[in-house]
């Protein structure tokens, strides 16, 4: 029973965090609108503020309802075929039975690396995406282990918070960069109070620097513990910890030469994956994923 309560807590936490994230993004755009109106012309203040409220609402709603589609499109995933990826379907159907969750939609992305992610806003609208490499190289038990890991992300609403973060903040950092670029143009040839201008430019620069850092920090807060939790919950579905452990070992031992790696994955999407698509040799503060060895060790102890 204790376990169930903590699982329930995880779901609540993810829903609350998603909501907070949405509020933060909303405020961000309002402030952005305020700054823009100050730079352009304070007399347009109301028009710009109304515009930025409408814009941020559309941005958030579109992001919320299409987060799965956006994340799938960003890795150029295609729907998995019932005949060609039979094993994949069987593994996910089995895990959806074992977990009592509805069947997610399945996608496949082109990559030799073994990797996978889940996305969507709730279990009823979830997607699971595997790389072609994973479908080729993993055997049935390993495949089920990885699917179970992804299904746990679906079950505890990790997918909502993770995908929203990747989509909303990922886009914010792009927009902030555009803002910075336009700020330079906007200032050319405009004669206004120099001090105000310097202040605004500084503010703009701070924004543009903060946005990617924020993305980095949020991705940090996303992954580490979540991966352990999902590993553990996944084992509750398969009752076979070695399946996932072996899959993680295969991921660890896989050496794909840098030049053959296709970097289809946007940086902001990295935390969604079961293992970091931008594998680094050294584990550090900014790694989005916990150490594979540690995860394998924990699984083998179960």
């Amino acid at each position: 029973m204790v376990e169930r309560i903590s699982f329930h807590d995880q779901i609540q936490m993810n829903k609350i965090k998603s909501f907070v994230l949405i509020v933060v993004i909303f405020i961000f755009f309002i402030i952005l609108g305020y700054i823009i109106s100050m730079i352009l012309d304070p007399s347009y203040f109301f028009i710009i503020m109304i515009f930025s409220v409408i814009f941020s609402l559309i941005y958030i709603l579109a992001g919320y309802y299409n987060s799965d589609k956006i994340s799938l499109a960003s890795v150029r995933a295609k729907p998995a075929s019932q005949t060609e990826h039979r094993m994949f379907y069987h593994a996910v159907e089995s895990m959806s039975i074992a977990s009592g969750l509805p069947m997610p939609r399945l996608y496949v992305m082109e990559s030799e690396e073994i990797n996978a992610f889940a996305s969507g806003r709730n279990p009823q609208n979830a997607v699971i995406c595997f790389t072609t490499g994973a479908l080729k190289k993993l055997n049935k038990q390993e495949l089920e282990g990885v699917v179970a890991h992804e299904m746990s992300h679906v079950a505890n609403y990790d997918i909502r918070f993770m995908t929203l973060t990747a989509v909303l903040i990922g886009m914010v950092s792009i927009i902030a960069q555009m803002f910075l670029r336009n700020l330079w143009f906007a200032n050319v040839g405009k004669d206004r109070d120099g001090r105000v201008q310097i202040f605004l430019i500084l503010l703009g620069i701070i924004f543009a620097i903060l946005a990617p850092i924020a993305a980095q920090l949020v991705s940090l807060s996303i992954s580490r513990k979540r991966e352990y939790m999902a590993d553990a919950t996944g084992v509750k579905f398969t009752r076979y910890p070695l399946g996932l452990a072996n899959a993680l070992k295969k991921i660890k031992n896989e050496h794909i030469p840098e030049r053959e790696r296709k970097h289809l994955v946007a940086k902001a999407m990295a935390p969604l994956f079961i293992s970091d698509p931008f594998k680094r040799k050294v584990q550090n503060l900014f790694s989005t994923h916990p150490d594979l060895d540690d995860r394998i060790k924990r699984l083998e102890k179960m």
Binding site: M1, S94, I97, G100, F237
Partner: protein, 181 residues
Amino acid sequence: MIWWIIGLAIFIALIFVVYYNRFIILGNRIDNSLSQIDVQLKKRADLVPNLISSVKGYAKHEKGIMKDVTDARKAFMSAKTFEGKVKAGAELQNALRSILAIAENYPQLRANENFLQLQQELAAIEDKVAYSRQYYNDSILGYNNLTKKFPGMLFASIYGKKAKKYFEIPAEERSVPKVNF
């Protein structure tokens, strides 16, 4: 003072609602898991005619085993209760296992695309039955814990919910039996 009483009454009413819903949710979970098992058993029975027809061409003199499978399927189709279905389903599984085992003696059959596909489907169904059985066991455990533990047992007696009878669903192996020869 009156507000305290009203507040307390609302609080108690809420607890009653919460517990009622939990019984319903956990009960539905059990029904759902049973229907999952049913679906998978049905799927398996549906694959039988197909399997027989693809085996027939290659293994003509294995009539005995094929008759066993057909009979087991008939028994499954005519079973009325869920218990009966589960039992007949297990029989069918045993019969299928022996048919898959003799297939090892017929290299041409083993090379048959259709047969291979059926074999894979049957293995996947076996997995799914095993997983739905696992889910059933968990669900019934959750429900019965709720009815037996305090304070759930109080609400169980108020709502007239009894611990559900647990019935044994035969375990199925999660992979096709490997035959050494």
